[in-house]
């Protein structure tokens, strides 16, 4: 292994600029003549819009324009689409109401946008926005998930009876019924998967500029997938033809799913930039982020597990109500269905499964993907019902998992819920995690804690995820309106250094380093001579961006494919220069060599020859050394692992302290262990945040009560422990790097590990479940309830 090749913890190339304050975040960009936008947002969760009086705002100092939904409608601006069509259990299509860029008839959540003010300075825009007078007729709000589909609950959209977007099912309902009829034991749980605010530390920003010379536009935006944004903004919202729109998402300060989507704000700003012909910048303040970034999770679930006398899983049924919020965000319908229902097999041989999901609208912020997206919800309910199953069977939670793991010789494994797991070997991950934790001596530690008046518990979470999104034809058959291949271009410059263009997008994942390692190893070019470019539709052929832990498995594979094309062409050029047959040319460590001789040309020499083609096989190959590749994966990847934690609960205060965290993940081959560990750390902290701290809470009128960092509890450094990270390695069999994806694992694994640990700690008190977030108040109340 080279010092900077595959498998080395290369220090990151991108760090220099971030550490010296020279990053290029969207809000850092200012364009000549730039002006500022401010949105007028609804203070009501549900109201009819009457007259909107913009006259005072229009005459305020510095104001250049005030626009309402009517202006956009008159100009033919379209709605923001949801890209995944759902076919319901009754065979009918879903109810997908339009999401207008600026609301015209009704507002449907606090923060819904009704007008846009543009002014010379941000302060002037803010001041003028206060002067826009909107008449509202306030309607009753629908905010309770369990009541959203009642006929007497306030109805959000005329076209959506009972606020029900769809009822969708996956699995074999009859077989599952029969499994429950045969069952000797049935475990049951009701669970709430709490609503999360994504809270990337960089707020969203959109800076739109029109070039009147050729009537083109550039949108600088905090996006995880600029090319897809370009498609949606052109083809669906109809703002600028695709070939006239460049979307740039430079350094992006964290995404966690929330920056996948095209939001109404960037649509409005782009449209307004065309009207005013000045660059317009909108930067969300944090209060706006809380209100308008798509939230995550928010599922109510009833789950049951049917078992035989040995604790073998015969059947599982799941009934989930998923909150869509007020409108369908771009991928809202995908999350509780094909990223959730398809995971119900977990790591187990459960013989029959049926999962039904009812998706409903409420007067709350739209809900979409947040780190893990559907898979944390699935893993939470599976790993909770597995622990509950162990409890009613009197089995050790590790033992019931072992009894039900899919055996290592059963792969590829066809699940009951559509996916085919390509590979897996679960036992060793569990063994390694338990031995690292010293599980066998846990009871001694529990007893020691007890002497100090504390309740100690151990929580196990064994997870699988479907990553590397996704085989385009598979997702197309399931309702996706997009493909999910990835693009790469490798451009050798004449002097031998290399630029790699990727359709993936890095917003913290370290692609500039990992992808350079891949290219370096493949091409034999030193890593310092390779630059990776992402996030610009003007420079990169195409891309589906970064989410679903797809970048290395799909984007990295595209780079490998492009590198192989470079080598193939280089071999022809080398054969010519070395006056040998192409079949006699070997390529190793950056050199083309005639087999069995010392006659050799470096890849840099080949590149030079390709750009100065004097002595060159022009009849066989074209000049230049620049190859593109598109890689469409044949299957998802299936990372898995086991996380175990030890918690200590103070029963007097309800406070939970995480004493240890051991993670054993299987991501297949690893390119950069340092970066992978960092991804796992961050994921766990996100999951611990969900389990213990974070909750988006609405009051009955639909006001977001936890709408700032003072009210919404983000994980701080004192809330998480140091993590002990380990791996097993089961390479993915179907991509050239044997890699799977690691960015979401921690957020998927962590919540059930924490809750299982708390329930384990309090089992002697009769506690069988604790809702998330397990705040001191919730834990204390749960203990009191168990006592009575």
């Amino acid at each position: 292994m080279a010092d900077d090749g595959i498998g080395a913890s290369v220090r990151r190339k991108e760090d220099q600029r971030f550490l010296t304050g020279k990053g290029h975040f969207t809000d850092d960009i200012s364009r000549p003549g730039q002006v500022y936008a401010r949105f007028v947002r609804s203070p009501h969760a549900h109201a009819s819009i009457g007259n909107i009086d913009t006259s005072a705002a229009l005459s305020a100092p510095g104001v250049l324009g005030v626009y309402t939904g009517k202006d956009l409608a008159e100009d033919g601006v379209g709605a923001v689409p949801c890209g995944w069509t759902i076919t319901q259990t009754n065979g009918e299509l879903w109810n997908a109401p339009p999401h207008e860029v600026l609301a015209t008839e009704k507002v449907r959540y606090v923060g819904d946008q009704v007008a846009l003010v543009v002014a010379e300075t941000l302060e002037q825009a803010r001041d003028a926005a206060e002067l826009v007078s909107v008449e509202y007729e306030v309607l009753s709000a629908n905010v309770k998930l369990d009541q959203a589909s009642n006929s007497d609950t306030a109805q959000l959209h005329e076209s959506v009876p009972n606020n029900t977007c769809f009822v969708w099912g996956l699995g074999d309902e009859e077989a599952t019924k029969s499994a429950f009829n045969r069952a000797k034991h049935i475990a049951k749980l009701d669970l709430y998967n709490n609503r999360l605010v994504p809270n990337a530390i960089e707020p969203r920003v959109a800076l739109a500029e029109r070039d009147s010379g050729d009537d083109s536009c550039t949108l600088y935006v905090t996006s995880q997938n600029p090319h897809l944004a370009r498609v949606i903004l052109s083809a669906f919202v109809g703002l600028v033809p695709e070939h006239k729109l460049r979307v740039v998402s430079p350094d992006v300060g964290g995404g966690f799913g929330s920056k996948i989507f095209v939001y109404t704000e960037e649509c409005a700003v782009l449209w307004a930039a065309k009207q005013i012909d000045r660059p317009i910048k909108w930067t969300a303040d944090r209060s706006e982020s809380f209100l308008s970034d798509a939230h995550g999770r928010d599922h109510l679930t009833h789950v049951e597990m049917a078992m035989d006398d040995d604790g073998k899983f015969l059947g599982m049924r799941v009934d989930t109500t998923a909150n869509m919020g007020a409108y369908l965000s771009n991928f809202a319908s995908l999350i509780p269905t094909y990223l959730h229902g398809t995971l119900m097999q977990g790591l187990y041989t459960t013989e029959a499964i049926y999962c039904e999901v009812t998706a409903v609208f409420t007067n709350t912020t739209p809900v979409d993907a947040v780190r893990g997206a559907g898979r944390p919800e699935a893993t939470y309910l599976i790993e909770r019902i597995v622990d509950e199953s162990a409890r009613i069977m009197g089995l050790d939670p590790a033992e019931i998992r072992r009894r039900n793991f899919i055996p290592s010789d059963a792969f590829p494994y066809q699940t009951q819920v559509a996916l085919e797991y390509d590979s897996g070997n679960y036992g060793p991950a569990l063994d390694k995690a338990l031995s690292t934790l010293d599980y066998k001596n846990f009871e001694t530690r529990r007893a020691n804690s007890e002497t100090e008046g504390k309740y100690r518990g151990v929580g196990i979470s064994s997870y699988i995820e479907a990553c590397g999104l996704a085989p385009s034809q598979v997702i197309g058959s399931l309702g996706a309106g997009i493909g999910q291949f990835e693009a790469a271009e490798i451009r050798f410059n004449a002097t031998g250094n290399v630029t790699v263009f990727t359709g993936s997008h890095s917003h913290g994942q370290g692609h500039e380093t990992t992808f350079a390692q891949v290219a370096s190893e493949r091409l034999g070019v030193p890593i310092e001579d390779i630059d990776v470019v992402h996030g610009d539709s003007g420079r990169i052929p195409f891309g589906y961006g970064t989410y679903g832990s797809r970048s290395l498995a799909v984007g990295g594979s595209a780079i490998v494919k492009a590198a192989d094309k470079i080598i193939e062409k280089g071999r022809k050029i080398a054969a010519h220069l070395l006056e040998a047959s192409e079949s006699d040319i070997e390529f190793t460590d950056g050199n083309f060599t005639v087999t069995g001789t010392d006659r050799s040309k470096s890849i840099a020499e080949i590149a030079f020859a390709a750009y100065v083609p004097h002595n060159y096989p022009l009849d066989e190959v074209e000049p230049g050394l620049d190859e593109s590749a598109f890689y469409d994966p044949p299957n998802f990847t299936y990372p898995f692992g086991v996380h175990v934690c030890e918690v200590e609960v103070d029963a007097d205060t309800g406070e939970v302290s995480i004493e240890r965290w051991v993670a054993v993940d299987d991501f297949g081959n690893i390119i950069n262990p340092m970066i992978v560990h960092g991804q796992v750390h961050g994921g766990i902290a996100h999951g611990v945040g969900q389990a213990l701290l974070e909750n988006a809470v609405y009051d009955e009128s639909g006001q977001l009560l936890s709408g700032s960092f003072m009210d919404y509890c983000m994980p701080r450094a004192t809330d998480v422990p140091s993590f002990e990270i380990g791996q097993t390695v089961t390479p993915c069999p179907h991509n050239p790097l044997g890699v799977k994806g690691c960015g979401e694992a921690g957020a998927i694994a962590a919540p059930p590990a924490v809750i299982n640990g708390i329930v384990n700690a309090l089992s002697s008190l009769g506690v069988t479940h604790v809702e998330m977030p397990a705040t001191p108040q919730t834990v204390w109340q749960t203990i009191q309830n168990a006592k009575t």
Binding site: R11, R12, E14, D15, Q16, R17, F18, L19, T20, G21, K22, G23, F25, D27, D28, S30, E123, N199, A200, I201, E202, P203, D251, V252, G253, G254, F256, D285, R286, S287, H507, G508, Q509, G510, M674, I675, H677, G678, Q679, H681, G682, G683, I684, A685, H686, S708, F709, M710, M714, P715, R716, A717, T718, V720, S722, F723, G746
Partner: protein
């Protein structure tokens, strides 16, 4: 419009500002020192930490006019002629940053931490980081970086 006169990264700056202009706005918009970031509007996240007269300050919580006559240091000034400050180097070595957005505030807070507390341990570092959010790293590597940076600064 009132005038503020201060030193920013060793350079004398005189600027006309509105009374409501925040120090961070003066830095980012007035001086184009965009390394200092804004991540919230309630002084919780710490992405905007700079040094004012040698002490860590959230520059979103201070009016530009309050910085009159002050010496302000930002992330742009702490590397020495291209060589990273020991705390910056430690963040790189220990992978204490991912997206990089909270990083300038983290580094400035960390240097201040070392200046105030000579013998940092993990518990103290975690406690001291209460005013700095990171959504990417889970803090593990930030803590390692600050402990290592602390040692390097004192050697």
């Amino acid at each position: 419009m009132p005038t503020v006169s201060l030193t920013i990264n060793g350079k004398k700056v005189v600027a006309d500002v509105e009374g409501r202009t925040l120090l961070v706005q003066l830095l980012r918009e007035g001086q184009r020192l965009t390394g200092t970031h804004v991540g919230c509007d309630t002084s919780q996240c710490g992405a905007c930490v700079v040094h004012v007269n040698g002490k860590a300050v959230k520059s979103c919580t201070m009016l530009a006019l309050q910085a009159d006559d002050s010496e302000v240091e930002t992330i742009e000034s702490i590397a020495n002629e291209g060589e990273l400050h020991p705390m910056q180097a430690a963040f790189k070595e220990h992978h204490g940053l991912q997206c990089g957005f909270c990083t300038p505030g983290m580094v400035m807070a960390a240097i201040d931490m070392v200046n105030r507390i000579p013998n940092l341990d993990e518990e103290t570092v975690r406690h001291e980081l209460e005013g700095n959010f990171c959504r990417c790293t889970g803090y593990h590597n930030i803590v390692q970086a600050i402990l290592a940076g602390s040692k390097a600064m004192q050697s």
